[in-house]
Protein backbone atom coordinates (compact mmCIF):
# COMPACT_ATOMS: atom_id res chain seq x y z
CA UNK A 1 0.00 0.00 0.00
CA UNK A 2 1.43 3.33 -0.96
CA UNK A 3 0.87 6.68 0.65
CA UNK A 4 0.70 10.06 -0.99
CA UNK A 5 0.53 13.19 1.13
CA UNK A 6 0.21 16.63 -0.38
CA UNK A 7 0.54 19.89 1.55
CA UNK A 8 -0.95 18.35 4.67
CA UNK A 9 -1.92 20.82 7.38
CA UNK A 10 -3.60 20.46 10.71
CA UNK A 11 -4.48 23.13 13.20
CA UNK A 12 -6.29 22.73 16.46
CA UNK A 13 -8.65 25.21 17.98
CA UNK A 14 -8.05 25.60 21.66
CA UNK A 15 -10.37 27.43 24.01
CA UNK A 16 -8.61 30.30 25.68
CA UNK A 17 -8.37 29.89 29.40
CA UNK A 18 -9.75 32.86 31.22
CA UNK A 19 -10.00 33.85 34.84
CA UNK A 20 -12.55 35.78 36.86
CA UNK A 21 -15.44 37.44 35.06
CA UNK A 22 -14.02 36.60 31.67
CA UNK A 23 -14.55 32.93 32.58
CA UNK A 24 -18.31 33.45 32.32
CA UNK A 25 -17.91 35.29 29.05
CA UNK A 26 -15.78 32.40 27.84
CA UNK A 27 -18.62 30.02 28.73
CA UNK A 28 -21.16 31.95 26.67
CA UNK A 29 -19.05 33.04 23.75
CA UNK A 30 -15.81 31.09 23.74
CA UNK A 31 -12.75 32.60 22.16
CA UNK A 32 -10.31 30.28 20.51
CA UNK A 33 -6.68 30.37 19.71
CA UNK A 34 -5.19 28.21 16.97
CA UNK A 35 -2.29 25.84 17.27
CA UNK A 36 -0.60 24.71 14.07
CA UNK A 37 0.36 21.11 14.73
CA UNK A 38 1.25 20.22 11.15
CA UNK A 39 2.26 22.97 8.77
CA UNK A 40 2.26 21.60 5.26
CA UNK A 41 3.86 18.19 4.76
CA UNK A 42 4.53 16.55 1.41
CA UNK A 43 5.44 12.91 1.42
CA UNK A 44 5.36 9.82 -0.73
CA UNK A 45 5.82 6.34 0.65
CA UNK A 46 5.90 3.33 -1.62
CA UNK A 47 4.57 -0.13 -0.96
CA UNK A 48 6.92 -2.22 1.14
CA UNK A 49 8.96 0.65 2.50
CA UNK A 50 9.87 0.88 6.16
CA UNK A 51 9.78 4.49 7.21
CA UNK A 52 10.52 6.03 10.58
CA UNK A 53 9.11 9.32 11.75
CA UNK A 54 11.29 10.96 14.33
CA UNK A 55 11.02 14.22 16.09
CA UNK A 56 10.88 15.55 19.63
CA UNK A 57 7.68 15.23 21.67
CA UNK A 58 4.98 17.48 20.32
CA UNK A 59 6.62 17.80 16.92
CA UNK A 60 3.52 16.60 15.08
CA UNK A 61 4.43 12.97 14.35
CA UNK A 62 1.46 11.49 16.17
CA UNK A 63 -0.88 14.01 14.59
CA UNK A 64 0.44 13.01 11.19
CA UNK A 65 0.02 9.30 11.91
CA UNK A 66 -3.50 9.90 13.20
CA UNK A 67 -4.37 11.69 9.97
CA UNK A 68 -2.90 8.88 7.90
CA UNK A 69 -5.08 6.35 9.74
CA UNK A 70 -8.20 8.49 9.50
CA UNK A 71 -8.50 9.13 13.22
CA UNK A 72 -8.03 12.85 12.65
CA UNK A 73 -9.32 14.80 9.70
CA UNK A 74 -6.78 17.15 8.06
CA UNK A 75 -7.46 20.88 8.10
CA UNK A 76 -6.27 21.04 4.52
CA UNK A 77 -4.25 19.07 2.01
CA UNK A 78 -4.68 15.61 0.52
CA UNK A 79 -3.94 12.16 1.81
CA UNK A 80 -4.24 8.98 -0.21
CA UNK A 81 -3.54 5.68 1.47
CA UNK A 82 -3.76 2.88 -1.06
CA UNK A 83 -5.84 5.25 -3.15
CA UNK A 84 -8.33 5.88 -0.31
CA UNK A 85 -8.99 9.05 1.62
CA UNK A 86 -8.56 7.93 5.25
CA UNK A 87 -10.92 10.45 6.85
CA UNK A 88 -13.73 9.51 4.43
CA UNK A 89 -13.14 5.82 3.91
CA UNK A 90 -11.98 5.02 7.39
CA UNK A 91 -13.90 1.79 7.71
CA UNK A 92 -12.85 0.46 4.32
CA UNK A 93 -9.27 1.36 5.06
CA UNK A 94 -9.36 -0.18 8.52
CA UNK A 95 -9.44 -3.72 7.11
CA UNK A 96 -6.15 -3.13 5.34
CA UNK A 97 -4.16 -1.38 8.02
CA UNK A 98 -2.94 -2.27 11.47
CA UNK A 99 -2.30 0.23 14.23
CA UNK A 100 -0.36 0.08 17.44
CA UNK A 101 -0.64 3.07 19.71
CA UNK A 102 1.69 2.85 22.67
CA UNK A 103 -0.74 4.82 24.82
CA UNK A 104 -3.81 2.67 24.22
CA UNK A 105 -3.66 -1.05 24.87
CA UNK A 106 -5.86 -3.25 22.72
CA UNK A 107 -5.43 -6.33 24.92
CA UNK A 108 -8.09 -7.40 27.40
CA UNK A 109 -6.33 -6.85 30.66
CA UNK A 110 -7.65 -9.84 32.57
CA UNK A 111 -7.57 -12.36 29.74
CA UNK A 112 -4.70 -14.13 27.99
CA UNK A 113 -3.64 -12.41 24.71
CA UNK A 114 -4.79 -15.44 22.74
CA UNK A 115 -8.40 -14.46 23.51
CA UNK A 116 -7.79 -10.96 22.20
CA UNK A 117 -6.23 -12.49 19.08
CA UNK A 118 -9.31 -14.62 18.41
CA UNK A 119 -11.54 -11.60 18.95
CA UNK A 120 -9.46 -9.53 16.53
CA UNK A 121 -9.70 -12.23 13.88
CA UNK A 122 -13.48 -11.84 14.09
CA UNK A 123 -13.40 -8.05 14.19
CA UNK A 124 -11.31 -8.02 11.03
CA UNK A 125 -13.38 -10.86 9.55
CA UNK A 126 -10.41 -13.13 8.93
CA UNK A 127 -11.40 -16.68 8.09
CA UNK A 128 -10.27 -19.44 10.42
CA UNK A 129 -7.71 -21.02 8.16
CA UNK A 130 -5.97 -17.72 7.38
CA UNK A 131 -6.09 -16.78 11.06
CA UNK A 132 -4.36 -19.97 12.17
CA UNK A 133 -1.71 -19.61 9.51
CA UNK A 134 -1.01 -15.99 10.36
CA UNK A 135 -1.10 -16.65 14.10
CA UNK A 136 1.45 -19.44 13.92
CA UNK A 137 3.70 -17.22 11.84
CA UNK A 138 3.46 -14.39 14.37
CA UNK A 139 3.90 -16.71 17.34
CA UNK A 140 7.00 -17.91 15.61
CA UNK A 141 8.65 -14.63 14.75
CA UNK A 142 7.64 -12.75 17.90
CA UNK A 143 8.20 -15.80 20.14
CA UNK A 144 4.85 -15.44 21.89
CA UNK A 145 4.39 -19.09 22.87
CA UNK A 146 5.76 -18.84 26.44
CA UNK A 147 3.28 -16.17 27.57
CA UNK A 148 0.33 -15.90 25.21
CA UNK A 149 -1.80 -18.09 27.49
CA UNK A 150 -1.18 -15.99 30.59
CA UNK A 151 -3.52 -13.11 31.52
CA UNK A 152 -2.25 -9.87 29.98
CA UNK A 153 -1.96 -8.21 33.37
CA UNK A 154 0.81 -10.64 34.32
CA UNK A 155 2.97 -9.87 31.29
CA UNK A 156 6.01 -7.61 31.21
CA UNK A 157 5.91 -4.42 29.20
CA UNK A 158 7.93 -5.99 26.40
CA UNK A 159 5.75 -9.10 26.24
CA UNK A 160 2.65 -6.95 26.17
CA UNK A 161 4.00 -4.82 23.34
CA UNK A 162 4.85 -7.94 21.33
CA UNK A 163 1.26 -9.09 21.77
CA UNK A 164 -0.04 -5.66 20.76
CA UNK A 165 1.99 -5.90 17.57
CA UNK A 166 0.82 -9.45 16.91
CA UNK A 167 -2.81 -8.36 17.42
CA UNK A 168 -2.33 -5.62 14.83
CA UNK A 169 -0.78 -7.96 12.30
CA UNK A 170 -3.30 -10.81 12.56
CA UNK A 171 -5.38 -9.64 9.63
CA UNK A 172 -2.22 -9.40 7.56
CA UNK A 173 -2.56 -5.68 6.88
CA UNK A 174 -0.76 -4.21 3.91
CA UNK A 175 0.28 -1.28 6.06
CA UNK A 176 1.07 -1.03 9.74
CA UNK A 177 1.42 2.10 11.84
CA UNK A 178 3.28 1.96 15.13
CA UNK A 179 3.25 4.99 17.38
CA UNK A 180 6.11 4.86 19.89
CA UNK A 181 6.20 1.04 19.99
CA UNK A 182 9.51 0.81 21.81
CA UNK A 183 8.87 3.33 24.56
CA UNK A 184 10.14 1.99 27.87
CA UNK A 185 11.31 -1.36 26.50
CA UNK A 186 14.59 -3.13 27.19
CA UNK A 187 17.19 -3.87 24.55
CA UNK A 188 16.20 -7.52 24.03
CA UNK A 189 12.52 -6.73 23.54
CA UNK A 190 13.41 -3.92 21.17
CA UNK A 191 15.56 -6.23 19.11
CA UNK A 192 12.85 -8.89 18.85
CA UNK A 193 10.28 -6.33 17.76
CA UNK A 194 12.71 -4.99 15.24
CA UNK A 195 13.38 -8.47 13.81
CA UNK A 196 9.68 -9.30 13.66
CA UNK A 197 8.81 -6.13 11.76
CA UNK A 198 11.62 -6.64 9.30
CA UNK A 199 10.53 -10.26 8.83
CA UNK A 200 6.91 -9.29 8.13
CA UNK A 201 8.12 -6.66 5.73
CA UNK A 202 10.23 -9.19 3.85
CA UNK A 203 7.59 -11.93 3.71
CA UNK A 204 4.46 -9.94 2.97
CA UNK A 205 5.93 -6.72 1.61
CA UNK A 206 4.08 -4.93 4.44
CA UNK A 207 4.60 -1.21 4.51
CA UNK A 208 5.79 -0.22 8.00
CA UNK A 209 5.53 3.27 9.43
CA UNK A 210 6.67 3.96 12.93
CA UNK A 211 7.31 6.94 15.13
CA UNK A 212 9.76 7.37 17.93
CA UNK A 213 11.53 10.12 19.73
CA UNK A 214 14.51 7.81 20.08
CA UNK A 215 16.64 8.09 16.95
CA UNK A 216 18.46 4.84 17.73
CA UNK A 217 15.34 2.72 17.32
CA UNK A 218 14.49 4.06 13.94
CA UNK A 219 18.01 3.65 12.77
CA UNK A 220 17.84 -0.08 13.42
CA UNK A 221 14.47 -0.74 11.81
CA UNK A 222 13.94 1.69 8.99
CA UNK A 223 15.54 2.20 5.65
CA UNK A 224 14.23 5.67 5.40
CA UNK A 225 13.75 8.32 8.02
CA UNK A 226 11.58 11.37 8.09
CA UNK A 227 12.39 14.02 10.64
CA UNK A 228 9.52 16.20 11.76
CA UNK A 229 10.02 19.24 13.90
CA UNK A 230 7.50 21.89 14.85
CA UNK A 231 5.00 20.56 12.37
CA UNK A 232 7.26 20.61 9.34
CA UNK A 233 9.22 17.98 7.56
CA UNK A 234 12.83 18.99 7.94
CA UNK A 235 14.51 15.96 6.48
CA UNK A 236 13.48 12.98 4.35
CA UNK A 237 16.40 10.73 3.67
CA UNK A 238 17.53 7.18 3.38
CA UNK A 239 18.84 6.19 6.79
CA UNK A 240 22.39 5.77 5.45
CA UNK A 241 22.79 9.40 4.59
CA UNK A 242 21.38 10.34 7.96
CA UNK A 243 23.88 8.27 9.85
CA UNK A 244 26.29 11.14 9.32
CA UNK A 245 24.22 13.16 11.76
CA UNK A 246 23.43 10.34 14.07
CA UNK A 247 26.61 8.41 14.43
CA UNK A 248 29.61 10.49 13.66
CA UNK A 249 29.92 12.47 16.82
CA UNK A 250 29.90 11.81 20.51
CA UNK A 251 29.76 14.29 23.32
CA UNK A 252 32.59 14.18 25.82
CA UNK A 253 31.85 15.93 29.06
CA UNK A 254 34.21 16.43 32.00
CA UNK A 255 35.24 18.80 34.74
CA UNK A 256 38.59 20.46 35.07
CA UNK A 257 40.08 23.49 36.74
CA UNK A 258 42.66 23.87 33.99
CA UNK A 259 42.39 26.25 31.12
CA UNK A 260 41.33 23.87 28.41
CA UNK A 261 40.98 26.39 25.64
CA UNK A 262 44.61 25.87 24.83
CA UNK A 263 43.93 22.21 24.16
CA UNK A 264 45.59 21.44 20.92
CA UNK A 265 42.80 20.92 18.45
CA UNK A 266 43.24 17.66 16.72
CA UNK A 267 41.21 17.35 13.56
CA UNK A 268 37.51 17.08 14.35
CA UNK A 269 37.44 18.01 18.03
CA UNK A 270 35.24 20.94 18.73
CA UNK A 271 34.68 22.74 22.01
CA UNK A 272 30.95 23.05 22.43
CA UNK A 273 30.94 24.91 25.72
CA UNK A 274 32.94 25.64 28.84
CA UNK A 275 30.92 26.61 31.85
CA UNK A 276 31.92 26.57 35.53
CA UNK A 277 34.82 24.22 34.86
CA UNK A 278 32.51 21.84 32.95
CA UNK A 279 33.71 21.23 29.45
CA UNK A 280 31.68 19.82 26.57
CA UNK A 281 33.59 18.51 23.60
CA UNK A 282 32.27 17.15 20.33
CA UNK A 283 34.47 14.28 19.25
CA UNK A 284 34.33 12.21 16.06
CA UNK A 285 33.03 8.76 16.89
CA UNK A 286 35.92 6.52 16.10
CA UNK A 287 36.93 4.18 18.87
CA UNK A 288 40.68 4.52 18.57
CA UNK A 289 40.47 8.20 18.21
CA UNK A 290 38.14 8.64 21.17
CA UNK A 291 40.32 6.60 23.51
CA UNK A 292 43.42 8.45 22.40
CA UNK A 293 41.82 11.74 23.24
CA UNK A 294 40.77 10.53 26.64
CA UNK A 295 44.26 9.22 27.40
CA UNK A 296 45.75 12.54 26.33
CA UNK A 297 43.32 14.47 28.46
CA UNK A 298 44.05 12.40 31.53
CA UNK A 299 47.79 12.75 31.02
CA UNK A 300 47.78 16.46 30.45
CA UNK A 301 45.10 17.69 32.82
CA UNK A 302 43.49 16.92 36.14
CA UNK A 303 39.95 15.98 35.16
CA UNK A 304 36.91 14.59 36.95
CA UNK A 305 33.44 13.24 36.14
CA UNK A 306 34.15 12.23 32.62
CA UNK A 307 31.22 10.98 30.53
CA UNK A 308 30.57 10.11 26.90
CA UNK A 309 27.07 10.54 25.47
CA UNK A 310 25.28 10.33 22.16
CA UNK A 311 24.04 13.61 20.84
CA UNK A 312 20.34 14.05 21.63
CA UNK A 313 17.73 14.27 18.93
CA UNK A 314 17.43 17.98 19.55
CA UNK A 315 21.13 18.36 18.86
CA UNK A 316 20.86 16.29 15.70
CA UNK A 317 18.03 18.48 14.50
CA UNK A 318 20.04 21.53 15.41
CA UNK A 319 23.01 20.28 13.42
CA UNK A 320 20.78 19.54 10.45
CA UNK A 321 19.47 23.08 10.56
CA UNK A 322 22.95 24.59 10.75
CA UNK A 323 24.20 22.38 7.97
CA UNK A 324 21.27 23.32 5.78
CA UNK A 325 21.73 27.01 6.37
CA UNK A 326 25.45 26.64 5.68
CA UNK A 327 24.71 24.88 2.44
CA UNK A 328 22.17 27.49 1.61
CA UNK A 329 24.73 30.24 1.99
CA UNK A 330 27.25 28.55 -0.27
Amino acid sequence: MNIIVRDLKKHYKVKKREVGLKKIKQLLKPEYSTIDAVKGIDLQINEGEMVGFIGPNGAGKSTTIKMLTGILAPSSGDIFVGGLNPAKDRKKLSYNIGTVFGQKSQLWFHLPPIDTFKLFSKIYEVDNFEFKKQLSLLVDILQLEPFMHKPARQLSLGQRMKCEIAASLLHNPKLIFLDEPTIGLDVVAKRQIRTALTEMNKRENTTVILTSHDAGDIEAICERVVIINEGSLILDNPIKSLSGYLQNNKLLKFKTAHDISKLKMTAGIEIVSIENETVNLKVPDNNDFLSKIIVNLINDYEIEDISITEPSLEEVIHSIYTEKSLRGSV
Partner: protein
Protein backbone atom coordinates in the same frame (compact mmCIF):
# COMPACT_ATOMS: atom_id res chain seq x y z
CA UNK B 1 -21.56 -9.88 5.29
CA UNK B 2 -24.35 -9.98 7.87
CA UNK B 3 -23.11 -13.32 9.15
CA UNK B 4 -19.63 -11.89 9.58
CA UNK B 5 -21.05 -8.93 11.48
CA UNK B 6 -23.01 -11.22 13.79
CA UNK B 7 -19.92 -13.36 14.18
CA UNK B 8 -17.89 -10.26 15.07
CA UNK B 9 -20.15 -8.94 17.79
CA UNK B 10 -21.03 -12.34 19.24
CA UNK B 11 -17.29 -12.92 19.65
CA UNK B 12 -17.03 -9.60 21.49
CA UNK B 13 -19.74 -10.88 23.80
CA UNK B 14 -18.00 -14.21 24.22
CA UNK B 15 -14.73 -12.59 25.25
CA UNK B 16 -16.61 -10.33 27.64
CA UNK B 17 -18.22 -13.37 29.29
CA UNK B 18 -14.80 -14.92 29.74
CA UNK B 19 -13.51 -11.67 31.18
CA UNK B 20 -16.40 -11.51 33.65
CA UNK B 21 -15.73 -15.02 34.87
CA UNK B 22 -12.25 -13.86 35.92
CA UNK B 23 -14.08 -11.54 38.30
CA UNK B 24 -16.36 -14.17 39.79
CA UNK B 25 -15.48 -13.11 43.33
CA UNK B 26 -16.65 -9.62 42.60
CA UNK B 27 -19.97 -10.92 41.26
CA UNK B 28 -20.53 -12.85 44.47
CA UNK B 29 -19.66 -9.76 46.44
CA UNK B 30 -22.30 -7.77 44.59
CA UNK B 31 -24.80 -10.58 45.02
CA UNK B 32 -24.31 -10.44 48.76
CA UNK B 33 -25.76 -6.95 48.72
CA UNK B 34 -28.80 -8.28 46.91
CA UNK B 35 -29.24 -10.98 49.54
CA UNK B 36 -29.09 -8.39 52.29
CA UNK B 37 -31.64 -6.16 50.60
CA UNK B 38 -34.02 -9.00 49.77
CA UNK B 39 -33.77 -10.25 53.34
CA UNK B 40 -34.70 -6.85 54.75
CA UNK B 41 -37.53 -6.40 52.28
CA UNK B 42 -38.96 -9.80 53.02
CA UNK B 43 -39.25 -8.69 56.67
CA UNK B 44 -40.58 -5.28 55.69
CA UNK B 45 -43.24 -6.52 53.32
CA UNK B 46 -44.25 -9.40 55.58
CA UNK B 47 -44.81 -7.01 58.47
CA UNK B 48 -46.52 -4.46 56.24
CA UNK B 49 -48.91 -6.95 54.66
CA UNK B 50 -49.88 -8.53 57.98
CA UNK B 51 -53.08 -10.39 57.19
CA UNK B 52 -53.90 -8.52 53.99
CA UNK B 53 -54.10 -10.85 51.00
CA UNK B 54 -53.51 -8.28 48.33
CA UNK B 55 -52.57 -4.60 48.19
CA UNK B 56 -52.65 -2.46 45.03
CA UNK B 57 -53.23 -5.67 43.11
CA UNK B 58 -50.12 -7.42 44.47
CA UNK B 59 -49.96 -10.32 46.89
CA UNK B 60 -47.11 -10.48 49.39
CA UNK B 61 -45.32 -13.09 47.34
CA UNK B 62 -45.74 -11.04 44.14
CA UNK B 63 -44.32 -7.92 45.76
CA UNK B 64 -41.24 -9.82 46.86
CA UNK B 65 -40.71 -11.66 43.58
CA UNK B 66 -41.13 -8.29 41.87
CA UNK B 67 -38.16 -7.06 43.88
CA UNK B 68 -36.10 -10.10 42.86
CA UNK B 69 -36.52 -9.10 39.21
CA UNK B 70 -35.94 -5.33 39.62
CA UNK B 71 -32.85 -5.90 41.77
CA UNK B 72 -31.53 -8.53 39.37
CA UNK B 73 -31.85 -6.14 36.43
CA UNK B 74 -30.41 -3.20 38.36
CA UNK B 75 -27.38 -5.16 39.51
CA UNK B 76 -26.86 -6.82 36.13
CA UNK B 77 -27.46 -4.06 33.64
CA UNK B 78 -24.74 -3.14 31.20
CA UNK B 79 -22.07 -1.28 33.11
CA UNK B 80 -20.12 0.54 30.40
CA UNK B 81 -21.01 4.13 31.31
CA UNK B 82 -17.86 5.06 33.17
CA UNK B 83 -15.62 3.39 30.65
CA UNK B 84 -17.20 5.20 27.70
CA UNK B 85 -17.21 8.61 29.37
CA UNK B 86 -13.63 7.97 30.51
CA UNK B 87 -12.53 7.19 26.95
CA UNK B 88 -14.30 10.29 25.67
CA UNK B 89 -12.65 12.51 28.26
CA UNK B 90 -9.16 11.04 27.84
CA UNK B 91 -9.56 11.11 24.06
CA UNK B 92 -8.55 7.45 23.78
CA UNK B 93 -11.84 6.79 21.98
CA UNK B 94 -10.00 8.12 18.94
CA UNK B 95 -7.76 5.05 18.82
CA UNK B 96 -10.76 2.81 18.30
CA UNK B 97 -11.88 4.77 15.24
CA UNK B 98 -9.32 2.93 13.13
CA UNK B 99 -11.02 -0.39 13.89
CA UNK B 100 -13.72 -1.91 11.71
CA UNK B 101 -16.56 -1.74 14.22
CA UNK B 102 -19.05 0.77 15.57
CA UNK B 103 -17.77 1.99 18.91
CA UNK B 104 -21.17 2.08 20.60
CA UNK B 105 -22.21 -1.32 19.24
CA UNK B 106 -18.89 -2.84 20.27
CA UNK B 107 -19.32 -1.54 23.80
CA UNK B 108 -22.90 -2.74 23.93
CA UNK B 109 -21.92 -6.32 23.20
CA UNK B 110 -18.86 -6.07 25.37
CA UNK B 111 -21.16 -5.07 28.24
CA UNK B 112 -23.90 -7.52 27.33
CA UNK B 113 -21.72 -10.58 27.81
CA UNK B 114 -20.85 -9.44 31.30
CA UNK B 115 -24.47 -8.54 31.90
CA UNK B 116 -25.79 -12.00 30.97
CA UNK B 117 -23.53 -13.69 33.52
CA UNK B 118 -24.64 -11.31 36.22
CA UNK B 119 -28.32 -11.69 35.30
CA UNK B 120 -28.02 -15.42 35.56
CA UNK B 121 -26.17 -15.50 38.88
CA UNK B 122 -28.16 -12.73 40.55
CA UNK B 123 -31.47 -14.20 39.51
CA UNK B 124 -30.57 -17.67 40.73
CA UNK B 125 -29.30 -16.40 44.08
CA UNK B 126 -32.28 -14.09 44.63
CA UNK B 127 -34.78 -16.75 43.59
CA UNK B 128 -33.32 -19.40 45.86
CA UNK B 129 -33.48 -17.07 48.85
CA UNK B 130 -37.04 -15.96 48.19
CA UNK B 131 -38.12 -19.48 47.31
CA UNK B 132 -36.89 -20.76 50.67
CA UNK B 133 -38.40 -18.00 52.79
CA UNK B 134 -41.54 -17.00 50.89
CA UNK B 135 -42.18 -19.87 48.53
CA UNK B 136 -42.68 -20.19 44.78
CA UNK B 137 -44.60 -17.90 42.49
CA UNK B 138 -47.00 -19.22 39.88
CA UNK B 139 -45.16 -19.09 36.63
CA UNK B 140 -45.87 -20.51 33.18
CA UNK B 141 -42.95 -21.86 31.19
CA UNK B 142 -44.46 -20.42 28.03
CA UNK B 143 -43.94 -16.89 29.35
CA UNK B 144 -40.17 -17.28 29.62
CA UNK B 145 -39.46 -16.16 26.07
CA UNK B 146 -41.58 -12.98 26.09
CA UNK B 147 -40.24 -12.02 29.54
CA UNK B 148 -36.66 -12.56 28.45
CA UNK B 149 -37.32 -10.44 25.39
CA UNK B 150 -38.66 -7.63 27.56
CA UNK B 151 -35.62 -7.89 29.85
CA UNK B 152 -33.28 -7.75 26.87
CA UNK B 153 -35.06 -4.67 25.52
CA UNK B 154 -34.87 -3.15 29.01
CA UNK B 155 -31.10 -3.67 28.96
CA UNK B 156 -30.87 -2.05 25.52
CA UNK B 157 -32.99 0.89 26.61
CA UNK B 158 -30.85 1.40 29.70
CA UNK B 159 -27.66 1.15 27.63
CA UNK B 160 -28.93 3.80 25.23
CA UNK B 161 -29.64 6.20 28.12
CA UNK B 162 -26.29 5.44 29.78
CA UNK B 163 -24.63 5.85 26.39
CA UNK B 164 -26.22 9.26 25.78
CA UNK B 165 -25.07 10.43 29.20
CA UNK B 166 -21.57 9.03 28.69
CA UNK B 167 -21.22 10.75 25.31
CA UNK B 168 -22.25 14.05 26.88
CA UNK B 169 -18.63 13.98 28.07
CA UNK B 170 -17.81 15.36 24.61
CA UNK B 171 -19.42 18.60 25.75
CA UNK B 172 -19.02 18.60 29.55
CA UNK B 173 -16.03 18.01 31.75
CA UNK B 174 -17.75 15.73 34.22
CA UNK B 175 -20.86 13.62 33.66
CA UNK B 176 -20.93 11.74 36.96
CA UNK B 177 -23.73 13.95 38.27
CA UNK B 178 -25.82 13.02 35.21
CA UNK B 179 -25.24 9.33 35.93
CA UNK B 180 -26.28 9.99 39.50
CA UNK B 181 -29.50 11.70 38.50
CA UNK B 182 -30.33 8.86 36.13
CA UNK B 183 -29.74 6.25 38.81
CA UNK B 184 -32.12 8.15 41.11
CA UNK B 185 -34.70 8.34 38.32
CA UNK B 186 -34.53 4.56 38.07
CA UNK B 187 -34.75 4.29 41.83
CA UNK B 188 -38.01 6.17 42.16
CA UNK B 189 -39.64 6.45 38.72
CA UNK B 190 -38.32 3.07 37.61
CA UNK B 191 -40.05 1.45 40.59
CA UNK B 192 -36.97 -0.26 42.02
CA UNK B 193 -38.16 -1.05 45.53
CA UNK B 194 -41.90 -0.66 45.20
CA UNK B 195 -44.17 -1.32 42.23
CA UNK B 196 -45.46 1.81 40.54
CA UNK B 197 -49.02 0.61 41.24
CA UNK B 198 -48.45 1.59 44.89
CA UNK B 199 -47.76 5.21 43.90
CA UNK B 200 -50.31 7.99 44.42
CA UNK B 201 -52.21 8.69 41.19
CA UNK B 202 -50.33 11.77 40.03
CA UNK B 203 -46.91 10.16 40.52
CA UNK B 204 -48.12 7.01 38.78
CA UNK B 205 -49.03 9.12 35.74
CA UNK B 206 -45.59 10.69 35.63
CA UNK B 207 -43.83 7.35 36.10
CA UNK B 208 -45.77 5.55 33.39
CA UNK B 209 -45.31 8.37 30.87
CA UNK B 210 -41.53 8.46 31.27
CA UNK B 211 -39.40 5.62 29.87
CA UNK B 212 -37.68 4.70 33.17
CA UNK B 213 -40.46 2.31 34.24
CA UNK B 214 -39.78 0.22 31.12
CA UNK B 215 -36.39 -0.75 32.50
CA UNK B 216 -37.29 -2.14 35.94
CA UNK B 217 -41.02 -1.96 36.65
CA UNK B 218 -42.25 -3.30 33.31
CA UNK B 219 -40.24 -6.55 33.17
CA UNK B 220 -40.77 -7.21 36.91
CA UNK B 221 -44.52 -6.62 36.88
CA UNK B 222 -44.79 -8.79 33.79
CA UNK B 223 -42.87 -11.52 35.57
CA UNK B 224 -45.21 -11.60 38.58
CA UNK B 225 -48.39 -11.08 36.60
CA UNK B 226 -48.13 -12.03 32.95
CA UNK B 227 -50.70 -11.16 30.34
CA UNK B 228 -50.41 -10.98 26.56
CA UNK B 229 -51.93 -7.52 26.40
CA UNK B 230 -49.54 -6.16 29.04
CA UNK B 231 -46.64 -7.80 27.23
CA UNK B 232 -47.52 -6.22 23.89
CA UNK B 233 -48.12 -2.85 25.51
CA UNK B 234 -44.67 -2.94 27.13
CA UNK B 235 -43.05 -4.22 23.95
CA UNK B 236 -44.41 -1.36 21.82
CA UNK B 237 -43.39 1.25 24.35
CA UNK B 238 -39.91 -0.20 24.66
CA UNK B 239 -39.44 -0.33 20.90
CA UNK B 240 -40.71 3.23 20.58
CA UNK B 241 -38.21 4.59 23.12
CA UNK B 242 -35.39 2.44 21.76
CA UNK B 243 -35.97 3.92 18.32
CA UNK B 244 -36.00 7.49 19.64
CA UNK B 245 -32.96 7.04 21.87
CA UNK B 246 -30.99 5.19 19.17
CA UNK B 247 -31.47 8.12 16.84
CA UNK B 248 -30.42 10.61 19.51
CA UNK B 249 -27.45 8.49 20.54
CA UNK B 250 -26.24 8.11 16.96
CA UNK B 251 -26.58 11.86 16.43
CA UNK B 252 -24.59 12.67 19.58
CA UNK B 253 -22.01 10.07 18.59
CA UNK B 254 -21.57 11.55 15.11
CA UNK B 255 -21.26 15.08 16.45
CA UNK B 256 -18.75 13.87 19.02
CA UNK B 257 -16.82 11.90 16.44
CA UNK B 258 -16.63 14.92 14.19
CA UNK B 259 -15.37 16.95 17.11
CA UNK B 260 -12.81 14.30 17.83
CA UNK B 261 -11.53 13.94 14.27
CA UNK B 262 -11.37 17.66 13.68
CA UNK B 263 -9.87 18.67 16.97
CA UNK B 264 -8.39 15.56 18.52
CA UNK B 265 -10.85 15.56 21.43
Amino acid sequence: MIIKTIDKYSMVMGVSIKNTLVYSKEILYRTSFMILLLFIFIQLWTSAYGDEASIAGYTLSQTIWYLVVTETILLSKIAMGNQISGEVISGSLAYTLGKPYHYMVYNFFSGLGDSFIRLFINFIVGSVLVFIIIGPISFKVSTIVPIMLVVLLALILDYLIIGMIALMAFFMEDVSSLFFIYSKMLFILGGLLIPIDFFPGWLQNIATTLPFNLILFAPASLFVNFSISAFLNILYQQLFWILIFSLILETIYRIGQKKLTSNGG
